[in-house]
């Protein structure tokens, strides 16, 4: 445990600057929002920057992981020489990213909350739905962010496994590593078999106050994405443990 917490703290220190810069950006957005607030009337436009900022969090983990891994690449032998499994080493980074992303999102949410209070009458009719929608967006943004983050890890690992084998054209291989699976996934997604396999555990979402049609959701699809994330992660750890070179 001490081993892991030391690892976690080290990884935190590698990216804390990025984390704090992120928080500063959040506060700048809040200032912008307040500025818009003063200069416009009572409406909901001022939430646009906040919503955009929240949406941008799908890039939070990929950016953070990229910076963290790039720092390790400066002295790759140091990171790779650690006798722990690549899974442990990477998990520390991913968890750091998740914690930071959650903190950042919570900050944005509380800003949004404090702004809503003064305008409550504008959305009172939609309140329950807004509230649930907001809550649902939170884990989905995290999930997408983790998915992109795992892709960054995989591409980084591939790069460091191939750099001495292919050299100059490694980027082409990486491009292929993105396009090919995406294309295959798109093919699979549209098959009936895929639908049969994933479209179970239906959980329809109804936002009757602002959406006519319900949003269909399936537990099976979440499981599918979860398996994809775990699979890509495992593939990366395998590459790092066996193929990456300094």
């Amino acid at each position: 445990m001490a081993t892991w917490s030391a690892l976690f703290k080290k990884d935190f220190r590698l990216t804390r600057t990025v984390f704090f810069v992120g928080l500063v950006i959040n506060f700048l957005i809040l200032s912008l929002t307040l500025f818009v607030d003063v200069n416009t009337g009572d409406n909901l436009y001022l939430f646009i920057p906040l919503v955009v900022a929240i949406a941008f969090h799908i890039l939070y983990l990929p950016i953070l992981l990229f910076i963290s891994l790039k720092t390790e690449a400066n002295h790759l032998h140091l990171w790779l020489h650690n006798p722990r499994s690549a899974a442990a080493l990477l998990l520390s980074k991913v968890l750091n990213g998740i914690v930071m992303a959650v903190v950042s999102l919570v900050v944005l949410y509380s800003m949004a909350g404090s702004l809503i209070i003064s305008r409550f009458e504008l959305i009172e009719a939609y309140w329950t739905d807004t509230w649930t929608a907001g809550l649902l967006i939170f884990p989905h943004i995290l999930m997408i962010s983790i998915m992109f983050g795992v892709w960054v890890i995989l591409l980084w690992s591939l790069y460091h496994a191939l750099k001495y084998r292919i050299g100059r054209w490694t980027w082409l291989a990486l491009l292929g590593a993105v396009i090919l699976p995406t294309w295959i996934a798109a093919l699979i997604d549209s098959t009936d078999l895929f639908k049969q396999l994933t479209q179970w555990g239906s959980m329809e979402l109804n936002f009757t106050t602002f959406l006519m049609d319900p949003i269909p959701l399936y537990a099976g699809e979440y499981l599918y994405h979860f398996i994809v994330i775990v699979g890509l992660f495992y593939l990366s750890t395998w590459i790092i443990d066996r193929k990456v070179e300094v």
């Binding site: 081993t3 030391a6 690892l7 080290k10 140091l78 066996r242």
Partner: protein, 232 residues
């Protein structure tokens, strides 16, 4: 399980350049061994292959019978010729981190080597001079109680006083009852007297592996003179 580092017909290609050509050798415990050769002859690659930080294109490298991949780090303490720490740490933090990650890290030994090499524990690594970085790397690497210690150019770029104290440190802190030290070095004259054997490579091929005393006895030559004779 044999306590030995074993190369079996190892070749390593980087793209189209061949860095190591069909090398077979075995390194036993309890020795101080130097890998010598010109720049770019494959000395560093040889160490990386043992540390599992590089993988043979063909052939195999095993350490105590295990295939050397990066997790062989549990048996091998590797010092790179590049910087080997997170610059945001202080010396003390770097030691604590090393100790947290390597169960075999001997804190008491580390403190002793640190005092011997006169490092100030509260200094930030990014503020250290080149000499002190070199010393710190030695502390971090030698303080591990592992069978194999690999040092890539431990003396290069350091002034004579520091080099001298590092060589003394190797005598004091490598336990030849249970450890083997393998290093690459340009400064052969300074380490020759502490070597058991040497491995000479040229253009990636093994040209000689012998005990230093054997070279003295059979040819009346030191490594430097032998290299001058052989490498022309």
């Amino acid at each position: 399980m044999r306590n030995v580092i074993e190369f079996t017909h190892v070749s390593k290609m980087y793209k189209k350049r061949s860095a190591i050509k069909n090398i077979s050798l075995s390194l036993p415990l309890g020795k101080i061994i130097a890998i010598v050769g010109e720049n770019g002859s494959g000395k560093s690659t040889l160490l990386k292959l043992i540390a599992g930080l590089s993988h043979p294109t063909s052939g195999s490298v095993t350490v105590n019978g295990e295939i050397a991949n990066r997790r062989i780090g549990k048996l091998v303490s590797y010092l790179s010729d590049h910087d080997s720490f997170y610059p945001l740490f202080t010396i003390r933090e770097a030691l604590a981190f090393q100790a947290s990650q390597f169960p075999d890290f001997n804190r008491a030994k580390a403190e002793e080597i640190m005092r011997y090499l006169q490092l100030e524990p509260d200094k930030r690594i990014r503020d250290l001079s080149i000499g002190n970085r070199g010393r710190l790397k030695i502390v971090l690497t030698l303080a591990r109680d592992v069978p194999y210690i690999l040092l890539d150019e431990p003396l290069s770029g350091l002034d004579p006083m520091v080099r001298q104290s590092i060589v003394k440190g190797m005598i004091s802190y490598v336990d030849l009852e249970s450890q083997t030290l393998v290093m690459t070095s340009h400064e052969i004259t300074e380490i020759e007297s502490i070597l058991d054997s040497f491995i000479a490579i040229r253009d990636g091929s093994l040209i000689r592996m012998a005990d230093v005393e054997e070279l003295h006895e059979s040819e009346g030559l030191g490594i430097t003179e032998w290299m001058k004779k052989t490498y022309v």
